[in-house]
Amino acid sequence: MSVSATDRLRRSSLYFVSLLGLIATWQIAATVAGDPALLPAPLPVLTAMGGELIRGELLHHVGITLMRVLAAFVLAMSIGITVGVLMGRDRTVDGLLDPVLIVLLNLPALVVIVLAYLWIGLTEAAAIAAVTINKVPLVTVMLREGARALDPQFDALASIYRMSRWKRLRHILLPQLAPYIAAAARSGIALIWKIVLVVELLGRSNGVGFKIHLYFQLFDVKMVLVYAISFVLVMLCVEAFVMRPVETAANRWRSA
């Protein structure tokens, strides 16, 4: 217990040293550059961030982007888990969908986004669909791996005892897939929020990606940084306060 406690303390202090180092490097680079229009120092960026926050602009756009991330995440995970498990458990489905999967995996994100906007129109649905389609293949591949690793003895047990579908799902299937779902969610959220910004840049009139595009056209580096950093911070919070606690809860039995 005490070992893991000091270990955690050590890790979090290293975390802060690393963060401080990053900010210090930024400050030095800004001083050396000597041109606030090109690279503003940390403090002015923070001040500008406060200004945007008070005006309500920041939360509005960050909120919209976060909703898009959430929608695409839930869709991509649901579809990817379902298709991945079906492919991992059924050879016919696997053979049928594998070529489609390979094509989708190798399709550049930009192509998917442009086609979605062209075919569906410059709508919210197109934006969410484009992000989802980008993410589904990766979730599918990871969950197919998980489904292939399922223990057939557990299936035999469930069949002989005639466990209900719900019990099988909850107590046999999901716990075995949990590590794969966690890995897919982790890499998923990182990929999705990056793609959402591109989608917003190309065809939405709100959200962080839209704002970054706007300030890019105005050559306002400071405001680009304000929005970029704000969203990185939000995603770090999601990781720390949503993803990690869920993972810890799912893994509680391992450390019992």
Binding site: Q153, Y161, M163, H171, W253
Partner: protein, 208 residues
């Protein structure tokens, strides 16, 4: 499902053939196990013992012939096959649908009365085996199917678990089919022994 001519817990096996693709694994196999009797099936590795047991357990319907077995079947596998994310008690109740009191009673019978809240990885291998036996008996089974249940144990532990298994079988009056390649195990359970041999495999009575 049960056939009155054979009694409530009897097993009636008439297999005409079982193949995997082009390979005929089982030939013609006829075996009746009377209610409450224990039968052992021995044979070399890869001969089809597990295949036969899967058919009897109702896990494999893709064969020629007919099998009649009771409805409530409990398996015991070579590995304890416990769900690692459930406590010992939940491993009994969630999987079999048995009640908590019944589960606690059976855990006491196998000597695990103070391990209810433990997860499987917190139990020794011997305790895991006893828990998997407890799971098999908690649902008040009519037929027990065991596939090499003592194979992964050292000699002393195997003797202990075999004695416990025999006692549980006798106390419950369950019909039992044991698959093993050790004749000593069959003897320890007081089982009538059959031997599986040939390609496709057929069944002969007694020791060969």
């Amino acid at each position: 499902m049960s056939d009155s001519a054979f009694g409530d817990r009897a097993v009636h096996i008439r297999i005409d053939g079982k193949r995997f693709g082009d390979t005929a694994v089982l030939g013609s196999i006829a075996l009746d196990v009377a209610s409450g009797r224990t039968v052992a099936i021995t044979g070399p590795s890869g001969i089809g013992k597990s295949t036969l047991l899967r058919i009897v357990s109702g896990l494999d319907h893709d064969f020629e012939g007919e099998v009649r077995a009771p409805a409530r079947i409990s398996p015991v596998f070579q590995e304890p096959t416990l769900l690692p994310w459930l406590t010992a008690l939940d491993n009994l109740t969630v999987v079999t649908g048995a009640g908590t009191e019944e589960a606690e009673r059976v855990m006491q019978t196998v000597g695990l009365e103070n391990k209810q809240a433990h997860y499987p990885h917190q139990l020794s291998l011997g305790q895991q085996r006893r828990l998997s036996l407890a799971r098999a008996f908690v649902s008040n089974p009519e037929l027990l199917v065991m596939d090499e249940p003592f194979a992964s144990l050292d000699e002393q532990k195997a003797d202990e678990i075999m004695a416990l298994t025999r006692r549980l079988i006798e106390d419950s009056g369950v019909t039992a089919i044991l698959v093993t390649h050790a004749l000593a195990e069959a003897r320890a359970l007081g089982a009538e022994t059959f031997h599986l041999s040939g390609q496709p495999a057929t069944l002969t009575k007694g020791i060969v």
